[in-house]
Amino acid sequence: MLRVEGIHKSFEDFKAVSGSDLTVEAGQLVAVIGPNGAGKTTLFNLITGQLKADRGEIIFNDEDISKLPPYEICRKGIARSFQIANIFPRLTVFRNVQVSVLSQQRKSVKFFRPARMLAVKETREILENVGLAEKADAIAGSLAHGDQRTLEIAIALGNKPELLVLDEPTAGMSPEETGATMELIRRLADSQGLTILFCEHDMEVVFNVAQSIMVMHQGISIIQGGPDEVRNSARVQECYLGGA
Amino acid sequence: MESGYTITFAALGSQFLVGLSRAMILFIVSSGMSLVLGVLRVPNVAHGSLYMIGAFAAFSISSLFGGGSTGFWLALVFAPLVVALISFVAERSLFRHLYEREHLMLLLFTFALMLILGDLVKMFWGADYRSIMAPEMFQGAVPIFGSPFPKYNLFLLGVGPLVAVLLWLFITKTKIGKISRAAAVDMEMVGAIGINVSWVFAFAFVLGCLLAGLGGALVSPTVSITLGMDHDIIMEAFLIVAIGGLGNMWGALVGSLIFGLTQSFGVLFWPQFAIVFPYAAVVIVLTWRPKGILKSVW
């Protein structure tokens, strides 16, 4: 479904990503792991178009998307969440998700229909799915951190993506919250048949959930394979587990 | 128009120098604005008013000492300090309570400050035109490239780089300077390492305003000191920091040079359209580089 080949990105003198490969098959739950500064977030930003690659290819459903702006990529079927809570703080929780659903239904540039009558059913469904239905009328900026992260995922779900890209969905969460979030992710993958690509630095979490794991180190992808394969890889032990 | 003259190389040289000396004043004023923009992240609309106060204070101080050379030098030292004091009072008494607020509230505050200072200047100094004379040694002109070049502008050509160097030393060598530079890049980090952010803000604000006052004092021998000076300079300063890169001190220098030189060469080649030069320069620069010429923190 998604294939990243030999992608490079540098900021001035700093090589953030220098030759990374990644493959995501439909229906898979794929994790990218690596220490801080390994280039995970940069890689994700390249995939979803926030950053433009210096060279390399990003093929999604047999189409090169590496030159497209983020909103085009989203319309191709890739939705994402961000590492820091990236929501619409002054809007209600309901509206946060609704805006995304409206965008997916290509109704963003409608003028003379009241927004509150549109996309209501879909939005409610998503909110119930992620467990935020009770807080639908709260102002998003006033939510607790964990809820904001969940809302992030809900916004991404509003796009009805084929591929959901989650950038450290559990960053800054307590262990309980982390557990709940990972549970949510697994449930989404199972129940809706979503393909999910996420990154994480908590090893335990990843090995329990992911079907395929890619390991990054200093901007380079070292290996991609099943949990066992990765766990037993000497190179991974050397530059990641050993170092950590 | 029956055109009957040619532009000589000497004329180009002399326009270059005149433009350069204009750029120096612009740099001093806009570097102050840039500092406030970088650290406090707020466009200080009252910056022009402080520039005006600098000029009026220079007039008062200079006439207090008889208006001669001594008066001028004392004015150059004390007028910026008067401005710094005013801004310090405004910052500590009112402005600092707003740092936690929505950012545009800071803009609204500086706007209110501009309204208040404008009227206070009128109350205090009246509406008459004021003027101070350059000290004896800088009066008159010297011939450069065959045309007369005012000596005072030569003095400005010296002062500008001096201020630039002092600012550079200050910001790279002193502790508070380093902190404020770091604050311009990442305020949270500065707060996290246990530095009182509020005082960093106060420092940057006062230093920025002091530069405005210095600009006002320096410009006073070449213009009439009058109400409305604030409006004249403020938009120019804004545009300069925008094209140079918001919050970047050297951007202010680059922007000032662009402004000063477009102006002086513009009036040589298209003297009828001087009124649009600054705006046209901004449109061209920002279309070419949407985030200003130098790296910006915005």
């Binding site: - | 000497a10 204009r22 003027s131 007369p148 005012p150 102006q263 009036v267 040589l268």
Partner: protein, 414 residues
């Protein structure tokens, strides 16, 4: 924390209440229709920003005259005045003038240095509401020229007069290659056009080799001067006013331009410009002026200056003179009209002649423009004083510098 919030709320309620009170009070305070009311003059002018110096001076002249007039009274009444600050903005001038007419119910409006505002008030209020409007220091020739009408008068000089004075004066000089430079707004262009038109008519071989126009209030004019010097014209006409005037004088002095090239600037000999410059003003600049406190040296002027100094502690500038004569025009017109009636006032003011500090002056019937002489002089350091003043003054009489009534008719016919 809670306490502070309470405080904040208290204060905010207080603030709102105060704001509400302010608005209500100002709404309720409708002007009482005084029985046997006085004659009311509404003054709109600029009392903020760079032009305030002129607005305040004009008002001082006006007040001085009223204090003299009110000693005896007019038609058994006094002349009252109330002023509004336009901040040099046309929309505010319109607001304020309408307020004066509709709310204060004034009998006459006077004022404004801002020509744009004067024209807006002339068209939108004087003409429409049929209220006499006398401009005292706005200098656009269009006010009483092509845009003139029954209810607008000018007690000041205008750009046509100034330009003609300059053109006539320069035509007697041997210069051929000219450069024109000035403030890039109506006033500058109007003077330039009038001066050039008259100069070219009197002396067809003159050549204009270039023009420069700067933003009004441009602080540093040195680049313009050096650029002009590079073009080497025989003479330069600067068309500038207000604070740019001071700036240009400083730049002229700093570059030593006056010693190299002859310069004519209207109002270069204005004391409001020369006084702050002190001894730093350039010498040898030709200038025209409609009033000097030291010229004409006749008793009427000396008396006026003496009274003005006694009242305000400084010599009157040209705006004070215009404010002063405006008040006398108003008083005399009401005396002649015999009642406080707007139409009769207009009829009375047409062709009115009054004595003034510069001798007898007349409000011309055909265009409602006051006939004033112009004084051409050269700046020179005054003996025993620390400022520069106009010397070698030549008086150009009103009919020499004013457009003829036929020309006015032609302009209005368009």
């Amino acid at each position: 924390m809670i306490k502070r919030e309470k405080m904040t709320r208290k204060f905010s309620i207080l603030g709102l209440v105060l704001l509400g009170c302010l608005l209500t009070v100002s709404l309720i305070l409708l002007p009482g229709s005084a029985q046997a009311r006085n004659i009311k003059v509404g003054v709109i002018d600029c009392y903020s920003g760079p032009a305030a110096v002129y607005g305040i001076d004009a008002l001082n002249g006006f007040k001085l005259a009223l204090s003299e007039i009110n000693k005896k009274g007019v038609l058994g009444k006094k002349i009252e005045w109330t002023k509004r600050d336009t901040k040099f903005k046309v929309d505010l001038a319109l607001n304020m003038a309408k307020e004066l007419v509709m709310r204060e119910d004034v009998d006459v409006i006077v004022g404004t240095i801002n020509s744009g505002a004067a024209m807006a008030v002339s068209e939108a209020i004087a003409k429409k509401e049929k209220v006499p409007f006398i401009t005292w220091i706005s200098k656009s020739e269009r006010i009483t020229g092509e845009k003139g009408h029954r209810y607008v008068f000018s007690a000041g000089e205008n750009t046509a007069m100034a330009g003609k004075a300059g053109g006539v004066a320069l035509s007697k000089k041997p210069y051929v290659k000219y450069w024109i430079a000035g403030d890039d707004y109506e006033y500058g262009h109007a003077i330039a056009n009038a001066a050039w038109r008259n100069l070219k008519a009197k002396k067809p071989d003159v050549k204009l080799i270039g023009e420069s126009w700067w933003k009004p209030g441009e602080p540093d004019l040195t680049p313009y001067i050096t650029a002009i010097l590079a073009a080497k014209p025989d003479a330069v006409i600067f068309c500038t006013g207000g604070r740019s005037m001071t700036n240009i004088m400083k730049a002229v002095k700093a570059t030593g331009m006056a010693k190299k090239i002859p310069i004519w600037i209207h109002t270069a000999t204005d004391h409001a410009v020369l006084k702050p410059l002190g001894a730093g003003a350039p010498e040898g600049v030709m200038g025209t002026m409609d009033y000097h406190f030291y010229y004409p040296d006749i008793k009427a002027n000396r008396d006026f200056v003496k009274k003005f100094r006694a009242a305000y502690g400084q010599a009157p500038g040209f705006p004070a003179f215009h404010g002063y004569i405006t008040a006398y025009f108003i008083a005399e017109a009401y005396k002649k009209a015999g009642s406080v009636d707007k139409e009769k006032f207009v009829d009375a003011l047409e062709g009115m002649k009054i004595a003034s500090p510069v001798g007898e002056i007349e409000m011309r019937v055909c265009d409602h423009q006051v006939v004033l002489p112009m004084y051409l002089g050269v700046t020179k350091k005054a003996v025993g004083k620390n400022f520069v003043m106009s010397t070698d003054i030549v008086t150009l009489t009103g009919d020499q510098v004013m457009p003829t009534c036929d020309e006015i008719k032609k302009a209005r016919g368009k």
